[in-house]
């Protein structure tokens, strides 16, 4: 149980990482709609994941509208796979 990655194990961050695992990159709005988190809450969770090196954030513009894109890094993908393996192992 102590082997579990605490950064990913938090439910909101697990949701974010699982959503990112199925895509190349997604924007902030998609994550907000799918997770149901507030902007501030989502921002802080993304910042935590970025700090851990699991998520890459790119701030850009679509026309004049600011756009925040998030993607899972190679380290994030590996951590997520390891987390799933640990959880599967625990539940067996």
């Amino acid at each position: 149980m102590s082997d579990l990655d605490r950064v990913i194990h938090e439910p909101a961050r697990l949701q974010i990482v699982a959503l990112l695992a199925g895509a190349k990159e997604v924007d902030f709005l998609f994550l907000q709609r799918e997770t149901g988190l507030t902007k501030g809450n989502l921002s802080s969770h993304l910042a935590r994941l970025e700090e851990a090196g699991y998520v890459g954030i790119e701030k850009t513009f679509r026309g004049k509208i600011p756009l925040t894109l998030a993607r899972l890094t190679a380290e994030g993908k590996a951590a997520f796979q390891a987390y799933r393996r640990s959880m599967n192992g625990l539940l067996k």
Binding site: L14, E25, L29, P66, R84
Partner: protein, 203 residues
């Protein structure tokens, strides 16, 4: 929390808006109308229907990009999907879809070949509905049940019309196009209703 469902969510989101069905349906309607109209043209203009059909197919890519940028992304967000490596599981999925396509073609061929001895008018429509439902059940297409009912209803209509207008496959194409357009339109309408534009000036 269903992690597998969340991992599939990005891929499922790309079909939530119904834009693909809408545009494919419009292409079928354009094609059927162009070829039907082409019969009225003099012989030397035989390439006109093909040109219209080709232009509508090329326009689909542009239409898809424009609608995604202007309708889907501002409401539900932007998603770029990974290019999936070929795996055994992916290969099986492609195989299942290919099998559904072969079944559809074989069933259509059978029904057309034996249309004179089919037990009741509308058999083609019933057959096509079976194919659609099989495709849904096997996950071949990402339709939801209400949309399948639309398709089944239009497919039945196709069958009835094909019997009334024997030999006119353009009517079948036209009805399929209308069915897909209606399905896509309903999905797009539902998507727009359930995804209002967010307040604020950016995300």
């Amino acid at each position: 929390m269903q992690i597998d469902r969340l991992m599939r969510r990005a891929a499922a989101y790309s079909t939530d808006d119904g834009i693909a069905e809408l545009l494919i349906g419009l292409i079928l309607v354009f094609a059927a109308t162009a070829f039907a109209g082409g019969r009225l043209l003099p012989q030397e203009y035989f390439l006109v229907p093909q040109a219209i059909w080709l232009c509508s197919a090329l326009g689909m890519a542009w239409g898809m990009k424009m609608l995604k940028e202007r309708v889907t992304s501002p409401r539900g967000g932007y998603v770029a999907l990974d290019e999936q490596p070929i795996t055994i599981r992916g290969g099986m999925r492609v195989g299942r879809r290919a099998l559904v396509a072969v079944m559809a073609v074989a069933l259509m061929g059978f029904l057309v070949a034996f249309r004179d001895i089919a037990p009741f008018p509308g058999a083609i429509g019933v057959g096509m509905s079976v194919v659609f439902v099989a495709a849904y059940a096997w996950g071949g297409f990402k339709y939801h049940l209400p949309h399948m009912l639309w398709l089944a209803a239009f497919s039945t209509l196709v069958g009835a019309w094909c019997y009334a207008w024997a030999g006119s496959s353009l009517i079948a194409i036209l009805c399929q196009g209308a069915g897909l357009t209606a399905t896509g339109g309903v999905k797009l309408w539902q998507f727009v209703r359930s995804h209002p534009l967010p307040a604020g000036d950016g995300v």
